[in-house]
């Protein structure tokens, strides 16, 4: 009985991994500073599911939402641990040193640095909605928060990003 339960957990976890690893990696890349960090975050999210299979709700969509929430929580832990805010303000100076602010790479670095100033949940909300095109209701489901909270996060994130990016443009 124990063996069959273990096999069921393994099959279920394999199904979750096959269905969602690409999407989670894409989100992790937008939520983290580099590719390696994104890869670690995705793996850690699935490892949490493996360690506590009972915590992952049954069903495709609830399972996906659980993984997204776990990924965002991992980003929050890392954000707090590394003190990202203070580091990002330093990294924001790097793009402005170039003489070609319209360069795509510089633009990406600027947006990336601006996104890094946001708190993880706010960043997840803006990334899911603006970059991945996920509707507000779906963002709320994935993050496990109310729709009104998602809208509030989106509004605040736009304001903060516009402020940072506008400051960059003026320079």
């Amino acid at each position: 009985m124990d063996t069959s339960r273990q096999r069921t957990s393994t099959e279920r976890l394999a199904g979750l991994f096959d269905a969602h690893h690409e999407r989670l990696f894409r989100l992790a890349c937008r939520l983290s500073s580099d590719r390696e960090e994104a890869r670690d975050l995705v793996q850690e999210a699935f490892l949490r599911a493996a360690r506590r299979p009972a915590a992952v709700p049954e069903g495709e969509q609830p399972g996906e939402a659980w993984l997204v929430r776990t990924l965002v929580n991992l980003c929050r832990d890392r954000y707090r641990r590394l003190g990202v805010r203070s580091r990002v303000h330093e990294s924001l100076r790097k793009p402005e040193e170039t003489d070609h602010p319209e360069d795509a790479a510089v633009a990406r670095a600027t947006v990336k640095a601006a996104l890094a100033t946001l708190a993880p949940r706010r960043r997840a909300a803006i990334v899911l909605h603006e970059l991945e095109g996920v509707p507000v209701r779906e963002v709320a489901r994935l993050l496990g928060i109310a729709e009104v909270t998602v809208r509030w996060h989106l509004l605040a994130a736009r304001r903060e990003l516009a402020h940072v990016l506008g400051k960059e443009d003026r320079r």
Partner: protein, 164 residues
């Protein structure tokens, strides 16, 4: 910066735009790592479970060995009746109808102990006064008691004589 311009700016600088995603090797490695995490965890728990089981068994053994002796019924007293070898015939014949005579204090002790301790039927039979017809054939009897403390009490019952 209006909403549309903001959105264009954000999408133009999408951090994932220059990413190619995970390579098949990375996916395979990550998948293997994740799927082997469940048995690894169980294997890690095994020593802890074994240790807990051993500790529980040790505690049970200790409780059994050092259990205080409360409320346990007293052990039954061991009573043995040994028939002594027949004594040599006395030169002076004793009167046939003579009843066994016990000292008053010994009678008291016997009576007291009869009430205090449970005695086997053999012992009780030995304490009964012998029948006059069997007087000549009754051999000397010894009654041995052993107390739980290890003390042994031996009574020698000689018909017509005081016991030692």
């Amino acid at each position: 910066m209006n909403d549309e311009k903001f959105r264009q700016r954000l999408r133009g600088g999408d951090p994932f735009a220059d990413e190619t995603g995970l390579t098949p090797e990375e996916v395979r490695e990550m998948r293997r790592t994740v799927l082997t995490a469940i048995p690894e965890r169980r294997r890690r728990l095994l020593p802890a479970l074994a240790l807990a089981g051993a500790a529980a068994v040790a505690v049970l053994i200790a409780l059994f060995v050092f259990r205080p002796d409360t409320g346990a019924p007293p052990r039954p007293q061991r009573v043995a009746t040994v028939t002594a070898p027949p004594s040599p015939p006395s030169r002076e014949p004793e009167p046939a109808a003579q009843t066994p005579v016990l000292k008053k204090t010994e009678k008291k002790t016997l009576h007291h102990r009869r009430h205090r301790r449970s005695m086997s039927p053999d012992t009780l039979a030995a304490l009964e006064p012998p029948q006059p017809a069997e007087q000549k054939e009754t051999p000397i009897r010894e009654i041995q008691f052993s107390t739980p403390g290890g003390t042994r009490i031996i009574w020698t019952l000689t018909p017509g004589k005081a016991s030692h």
